[in-house]
């Protein structure tokens, strides 16, 4: 099966679907149009999985790529999308969540259907584009494109405090990403002068091959990392997340947790590491510390929540801390763990938000105190929730375990972090996550039914079961047989770390060379003179 331009089709088919939703006249037509667009996209994206061959190297070019000049020819800015081991699974996750999110909104959304489904489709195009871009500026455009639909989804269909949450979400992300834009343009010019005959370039492969002096690496890395850290969100930039999650409608939360946050971690892997290897290694311990603080802090705050959705939102801070830790451990095990954990988190947290949304639809509350003992009245819902909780808490045999285990093993071995104590602290996150999640299960599902309303709750209908089953199956498959998934990303992860290492040494050589030259030609005066300290006595 070989469809030409399949990557571009998978990116833009949802956006093309808005023609259908805009033309549709009734509510049912709109929903089916959106479902059709996302389902076809998902089926086509399976073609990416089949068409992608991990044994073919993606060091020089991605597979299934599409390239076209985009800017005026005096800028080397292209429309350049493709597939490699790093983005394949994330794109599949995005396309899988597409129809699931549409189905989950079927009865949840009660006003402005046309706008809602149109925005969801645009959002999916944005997210897929982010993962598939191999041109920095194109990446940036997709990255920002996701803000607009998400802003309206939170702001129009959200809860009580939605306007504040929507604005906070946009402004936080915007500050980070605009600073990244400055860094990106600066990088484009620097790399253009060095490797592209003076022509401004944002081509990923050219930027990655550009051996950059250390002092530029530092500040560019910080600006890039800030943008992605806000998106992840890494402690202490996480404050927008609970607001956005709690206020967003279920569909919005699922997309947000499932794929939007991954844009941050993916950005760190895809851009920060290969562009700025020396700065990455220099700052890796610091970022790892923040990640571990996030793991523990997120878990503790989760435990303190009374609102189930807020609990799940803070658990994202904790879980994504693991992903960041895995990325900055900079070895194959940890990185592979981070890659698979991104997908795992998308599946299990996505499922959790879906189930919380279903509870909310039934009872219009998310307070744990309002529930209790509902395992008796809604057994199917409870089954799915408890199963998802176990997966999320990292029960061996389910998907969450694989990622966390690899990350922790890799982090222990990591020569870059070189701090077993830090990793030991991170390990407590696994235990804490079991505590807060099981506490939630205990409060909500076990015990006796105290509230009369809870006993009359209807259980899941076929639509709701249908949209949970694929996620449920994936949790089992990825838990029992993670091999096929890991094998898809392994060569790319190895290549990436290889690239980091080679470039890091090249930069060190270059710096040493420059210093050597300076001492040779200009001898003494250029050398570091002892710091001149003047003591002024009064």
């Amino acid at each position: 099966m070989n469809i030409p331009h399949i990557t571009s089709i998978v990116i833009f088919l949802p956006a093309a679907g808005i023609i259908l939703t805009l033309l549709a006249r009734t509510e049912t037509q709109i929903k089916w149009a959106a479902l059709l667009a996302t389902s076809v996209t998902f089926l086509l994206s399976l073609g990416l999985y089949i068409g992608f061959d991990p044994s073919v190297s993606t060091v020089d070019a991605p597979q299934l790529s599409d390239v076209a000049q985009w800017f005026p020819t005096s800028f080397d800015v292209k429309y350049f999308v493709g597939i490699d081991g790093l983005n394949l699974l994330l794109i599949l996750l995005t396309t899988l969540l597409g129809p699931i999110v549409i189905l989950s909104s079927w009865t949840y959304i009660q006003k402005n259907h046309k706008a809602y489904y149109t925005l969801l489709l645009i959002l999916q195009t944005g997210v897929t584009g982010v993962f598939a871009s191999f041109d920095m500026l194109l990446f940036y455009v997709f990255f920002e494109l996701t803000l607009i639909p998400m802003y309206f989804i939170i702001g129009l269909w959200g809860g009580e405090n939605r306007i504040y949450a929507a604005l906070k979400f946009v402004l936080y992300t915007l500050v980070g990403s605009l600073l990244m834009l400055v860094a990106l343009i600066s990088l484009g010019y620097l790399a253009g002068d060095a490797v592209n005959a003076g022509v401004f370039t944002t081509d990923w492969f050219k930027l990655a091959s550009f051996v950059m002096p250390m002092e530029s690496q530092r500040w560019l890395f910080l600006l890039f990392a800030l943008a992605f850290a806000i998106k992840v969100p890494l402690f202490p930039f996480h404050t927008w997340l609970p607001d956005a999650h709690v206020q967003a409608p279920t569909g919005g939360s699922v997309v947000l947790a499932g794929v939007l946050l991954k844009m941050g971690t993916y950005g760190l892997v895809r851009f920060c590491l290969p562009f700025f290897p020396n700065a990455t290694i220099a700052y890796a311990p610091w970022i790892a510390v923040l990640a571990v603080i996030g793991i523990v802090y997120g878990a503790l705050v989760s435990r303190a929540q009374t609102d189930i959705k807020k609990l799940v939102a803070y658990s994202s801070v904790s879980h994504l801390g693991f992903v960041v830790l895995g990325i900055f451990a900079l070895n194959v095990e940890a990185m592979q763990g981070a890659m698979i954990q991104m997908v795992n988190h998308g599946i299990s947290t996505g499922a959790m938000f879906l189930i919380v949304g279903m509870l909310y639809e039934r009872r219009h509350t998310r307070e744990m105190a309002d529930f209790g003992g509902i395992a008796k009245s809604v057994p199917i819902l409870s089954f799915f929730m408890i199963f998802t909780v176990l997966a999320s808490a990292g029960l061996p045999g389910l998907n969450g375990f694989v990622g966390e285990f690899l990350i922790l093993i890799g982090a222990f071995k990591s020569t870059v972090l070189n701090s077993p104590i830090l990793v030991a602290v991170a390990t407590t996150g696994v235990i804490l996550s079991a505590i807060y999640l099981l506490y939630m299960v205990y409060e909500t599902f076990w015990g006796k039914i105290t509230d009369e309303k809870n006993s009359r709750m209807p259980d899941l209908n076929m639509r709701e079961i249908g949209l949970l089953v694929p996620l449920f199956l994936l949790m089992i498959i990825m838990g029992l047989a993670p091999g096929p998934f890991l094998r898809k990303s392994e060569p790319a992860v190895r290549d990436l770390l290889q690239r980091v290492e080679v470039k890091r040494i090249a930069v060190i050589m270059m710096e040493a060379d420059r210093k050597g030259l300076a001492t040779d030609f200009f001898s003494a005066p250029v050398r570091e003179s002892p710091p001149a300290v003047k003591i002024v006595s009064k």
């Binding site: 000049q69 985009w70 800017f71 005026p72 020819t73 005096s74 500026l137 940036y140 455009v141 920002e144 494109l145 803000l147 607009i148 802003y151 309206f152 702001g155 129009l156 939605r162 306007i163 929507a166 604005l167 946009v170 402004l171 915007l174 500050v175 605009l178 600073l179 834009l181 400055v182 343009i185 600066s186 484009g188 010019y189 401004f200």
Partner: protein, 494 residues
């Protein structure tokens, strides 16, 4: 013999400036027509037709090599044609919005259209000037027409007040400008921009030259509404009839920026002044964006936003490179569409909302559901003004910030993007009010009708914004104007 030569050259020059002549003549015809048949129904249509024809003619010559006419007083073709085309586009779109608006407030007088055409004449001269004299003539023609247009709604107290403010401050800045010209002439002995560059080298330490340039810059900064010379902008933009505000904020700024670019590009070497421009850009972006946050009046908020946008354009100029100038010109194109669109939307929402709450943002709560087409277009304009992709404003910002970063003004770009994050706050607040707030229970307004022509213009603007946001390669056009190196030109000159 000499007379006949002069005659031939005049004819050929006129052939190069047909749009300009056409517009002046139509303006005169309208003045006469209005005298004999006041408020004749054909006047707006005639204006629009002539602007469309002129626009078509200018667009055709954009691709041509730039040259000069009328004894090198005016530039034609190339960049001049592009600038004129932007001005004419602004004029054409504004006329279509003006007609129903003025009819509605019962001020559909012929003078409005005649003045519009005369001011466009001034702008076209200003934007294609090749000599300081031409700049001055263009600037004054434009400004005097704009003073009167501000005061067009005579019954409106605010209009008269703002026109008077505009006039007094404008006259003051004209004084600076003229004095600057005098000093520059004194220092260099020429009025011609390209010749001035040759003279700058010899008088490098000439105080008179720098004083002249500084005064000239003050005049320009006043016209483009850059801080700290922006004081008139909010009052004037708020007081004038809304479609006219849209026109003023785009066309007059385009002309003034184009003229400033010509002066900077041809007359003086960049490294001598770009630090000053960078600081002005910094102040302007901060002042515009920060003050805009606290505005409750939508029109006034957009006035401050237009100050901020002048700041962004100045960032492009501060680079002092061809890429920076072309970025600034590209920005003005994008800005024209988004600002006229935004003011157009406001113009046809002014009659909604509570009585006496003119243009107050809160009074428009929930209007997104009453006027969906206009409001959805407003989403495009607001996001574009805030610089979000995939709208034109994003690539506009790239076009001005990237050259500045290349030229080493990274701090300026960082402040620029931070202030534009600030701007996102107030632009998004408009959308919050439009879509996410409910109108006060007491008052449930009926939406005033929007004429088809106005809707068409606003939708067109939104469409263009989207196209410019997806296909930035249109930038190639402005980049071609600065492809030839200026140093070679200067070397040829005596």
């Amino acid at each position: 013999m000499e007379l006949s030569q002069a005659y031939t050259s005049l004819l050929s020059d006129m052939g190069h400036t047909i749009p300009l002549i056409l517009i002046v003549l139509t303006g005169l015809v309208i003045v006469l027509l209005d005298a004999f048949k006041p408020r004749h129904v054909s006047i707006p249509y005639l204006t629009a037709l002539v602007l469309a024809v002129a626009l078509g003619l200018e667009i055709q010559t954009i691709g041509s090599q730039g040259g000069t006419a009328y004894y090198e007083l005016i530039r034609v073709g190339g960049m001049a044609a592009y600038v004129n085309a932007v001005i004419l586009t602004s004029g054409l779109l504004s006329v279509i919005l003006m007609k129903p608006y003025l009819e509605r407030i019962d001020h559909n007088i012929g003078e409005a259209y005649a003045l519009l055409l005369f001011s466009i004449t001034g702008m076209m001269v200003l934007g294609s000037a090749n000599s300081l004299v031409t700049i001055f003539v263009g600037l004054e023609t434009m400004s005097i027409c704009l003073y009167i247009m501000t005061a067009l709604i005579r019954s409106h107290k605010g209009a008269i007040e703002s026109a008077l403010k505009y006039f007094l401050l404008g006259a003051f800045s004209t004084g600076f400008f003229l004095y600057g010209i005098a000093l520059l002439y004194g220092a260099t002995g020429t009025m011609m921009l390209p010749e001035m560059r040759g003279a700058v080298a010899v008088s490098d330490s000439d105080t008179m030259f720098w004083a002249g340039l500084a005064l000239l810059l003050v005049g320009f900064m006043f016209k483009v509404g850059a801080a700290p010379f922006h004081m008139w902008t909010p009052d004037v933009y708020q007081g004038a009839a809304t479609p006219i505000t849209g026109f003023m904020s785009t066309a007059s700024k385009t002309a003034a920026f184009a003229s400033l670019i010509l002066v900077l590009y041809y007359a003086v070497p960049a490294e001598t002044w770009n630090g000053v421009i960078a600081i002005l850009a910094l102040i302007t972006m901060i002042v515009g964006n920060v003050i805009a946050i606290s505005q409750t009046n939508l029109k006034r908020m957009l006035a401050y936003s237009s100050i901020a946008h002048a700041g962004y354009v100045l960032v492009g100029l501060s680079a002092g490179t061809g890429a920076g100038y072309s970025g600034a010109l590209y920005y003005m194109l994008v800005y024209t569409f988004m600002n006229i669109g935004a003011f157009g939307v406001i113009a046809f929402m002014e009659f909604d909302g509570k009585e006496g709450s003119e243009q107050r943002l809160d009074s428009l709560a929930g209007i997104g559901y009453k006027k969906p087409v206009l409001s959805v277009c407003m989403i495009f304009f607001m996001f574009s003004l805030a610089g979000f992709p995939p709208f034109g404003g994003f690539f506009g910002k790239i076009a001005v910030f990237a050259p500045a970063i290349d030229a080493g003004f990274i701090w300026l770009a960082i402040v620029g993007v931070l202030t534009s994050a600030v701007s996102a706050y107030y632009y998004l607040r408009v959308l919050v009010v439009f879509f996410m707030k409910q109108p006060d229970g007491v008052y449930d307004f009926d939406a005033s009708p929007v004429p088809f022509s106005a809707t068409a213009v606003i939708v067109l603007c939104a469409g263009v914004i989207l196209v410019l946001g997806v296909a930035p390669s249109i930038m190639e056009v402005t980049m071609s104007f600065f492809s030839s190196s200026i140093t070679t030109t200067a070397a040829v000159l005596p």
